[in-house]
């Protein structure tokens, strides 16, 4: 099995930060706010490996740092510390030492992101097809008819009515917007896809269909995925391994079925016990 991502010691602090930030926050202190400088320790010492074609779940409540982790890895923000190496065939890329152009190229070519809020992943002023076109154009596909046919193909695959390809996605339902987002993220066949609470806020039947779709695509394209969610059901269905986070720290990690059936940490036990 080939490793695709190696994250070590990833940390993020919002605020001025001080020497004691990391020693006075975390699950055992039941806070992520430093009492000395009032900074928020959003993430501390996140370390994990991700293999090709693997789905990793990151689970936790809001404020646990799970979205921060993904935002750092997708370059939406720069971390306070730590490193991440992306393996692309034989090439190794240290994510946080890349210059902005290299970061952009990784983001546009090899990574994909599906946000909880479609507003972040889609440009609502251009058509659904135009959104996919944008990502293809970034990757130097400069043939109009090729762009049209690939956008058509992707939207068919993600079950968006292709008659609506030239409409603005702001007029679509939430589930449909997520499908367009997924189609856009997949348009370059990325080797790493981030999914940030993608089914949160959707009807249960729509959620199930989207999760199905994600797994089908994962099986087809062998895309490695990092799935951020607060929903145990989503992790159970999608992820082979899961990290459980609280107050910016990983409290437990392991095989998903083990996390759910034999949780070791008090917090995970509580989380599993309180799930519907």
């Amino acid at each position: 099995m080939d490793k695709i991502l190696e994250v070590s010691g990833l940390s993020q602090i919002y605020g001025p930060g001080c020497d004691q930030c990391f020693t006075c926050t975390g699950p055992e202190f039941e806070t992520n706010i430093c009492k000395h400088c009032s900074s928020i320790v959003a993430l501390h010492d996140l370390t994990f490996d991700l293999y090709k074609g693997e789905i990793l779940g990151i689970m936790g409540e809001s404020g646990s740092g799970k979205s921060t982790a993904v935002k750092c890895l997708y370059f939406d923000q720069m971390p306070f510390g730590g490193s991440a190496i992306f393996f692309n065939n034989k090439e190794q890329k240290h994510l946080f030492t890349l210059n902005p152009a290299q970061r952009r190229s990784l983001r546009n070519q090899h990574f994909g992101m599906v946000y909880q809020n479609p507003n972040l992943g889609l440009n609502f002023d251009i058509s659904a097809g135009g959104n996919i076109a944008e990502r293809l154009l970034m990757n130097r596909v400069l043939n109009y008819s090729e762009i049209r046919s690939r956008a058509h193909e992707l939207l068919t695959r993600t079950e968006v009515l292709t008659e609506r390809m030239d409409e603005l996605p702001k007029n679509f339902s939430g589930g449909m917007q997520q499908r367009v987002q997924i189609a856009k993220a997949l348009s370059t066949r990325p080797s790493l896809l981030f999914l940030d609470e993608v089914t949160t806020g959707l009807d249960l039947s729509v959620q199930a269909k989207i999760l199905d779709l994600i797994l089908e695509i994962q099986a087809e394209l062998d895309t490695a995925m990092i799935v951020v969610t607060h929903d145990l059901g989503v992790t159970r269905l999608l992820a082979g391994r899961t990290l459980v986070m609280k107050y910016g720290r990983v409290v437990e990690s392991g095989l998903t079925d083990q996390i759910l059936e034999d949780p070791q940490h008090a917090y995970t036990q509580q989380l599993v016990a309180s799930a519907l």
Binding site: M1, D49, Y51, E54, A208, K209, L211, D212, L215, A219, R236, L237, G240, R241, S253, G254, L255, D257, Q258, E261, D262, Q264, H265, A266, Q269, Q270, A273
Partner: protein
């Protein structure tokens, strides 16, 4: 005759610590046995003796409390399943170790044929080949043909169980864990299942099983491991 064991469970104990209640709940303790290719070991004992826990510890759904679970891989390495990395366990699950539980977790839209063939897909077998093999197994297990292209979510308990069994058997794992594979089946279907299990044994699969009837143990098991109720510690 010297037989090469495929699995050696040594002093395996499992207990649960509930943080909320500050309580230790013992499940299985000091279990010892070995499993061999082509042989079926039945775990017997009263309810609450931790039979399922043993299977789950071997599959790493549970983290054992103490003891060793030494598995000999196809490549000839010895791996302690209690200590192996998550990725190693996932790889073994994909290629060598199967588990048929009493519950079927599937995706809402996945068709029965694909549910069954999934372990083959994961090993890189083509869709067409996978579906062919799945059809054979489903026919053998007496699942009506009109159900093959339907997701199993709406199936009866017995049908779901057979789908689950078919999925567990299809990839011919080297070690197969069976947790009450015939619990909700009628006598005729049970016979069919036992025939299938016997065939897998003949093909060299090592098996660990829990049956709900002593009769079944007599019919199919080569050896038994008896578990007793854990002593109440507190």
């Amino acid at each position: 005759m010297i037989r090469n064991q495929i699995l050696s469970v040594e002093n395996l104990s499992k207990s649960f610590f509930l943080h909320e209640q500050k309580k230790i709940i013992p499940s299985s303790s000091q279990i010892n046995f070995k499993a061999y290719p082509g042989k079926l070991i039945a775990l017997i004992g009263p309810t609450g003796a931790g039979k399922s826990s043993v299977l789950k510890c071997i599959y790493r759904t549970y983290q054992q409390t103490s003891g060793r679970i030494i598995y000999k891989t196809a490549a000839g390495d010895s791996v302690d399943l209690a200590l192996a990395s998550d990725h190693r366990v996932l790889e073994l699950r994909r290629n060598e170790i199967g588990f048929v539980t009493q519950f079927l977790h599937t995706l809402p839209r996945q068709k029965t044929l694909d549910v069954v063939a999934m372990p083959l897909y994961q090993q890189g077998v083509s869709r067409q080949q996978g579906r062919e093999q799945a059809s054979k197994l489903l026919a053998e297990l007496n699942i009506p043909k009109q159900l093959w292209e339907v997701p199993p979510a709406t199936f009866s308990g017995g049908e779901k169980q057979r789908v689950n069994l078919a999925r567990g058997l299809i990839a011919s794992p080297r070690l197969l864990l069976l947790d009450e594979p015939t619990a909700s089946l009628d006598a005729q279907t049970t016979d069919r299942v036992l025939r299938l299990i016997q065939r897998k044994k003949d093909q060299g699969t090592a098996m660990l099983a829990i049956f709900h009837h002593a009769d079944l143990v007599k019919r199919i098991a080569d050896d038994v491991v008896e578990l007793t109720l854990p002593e109440k510690t507190h």
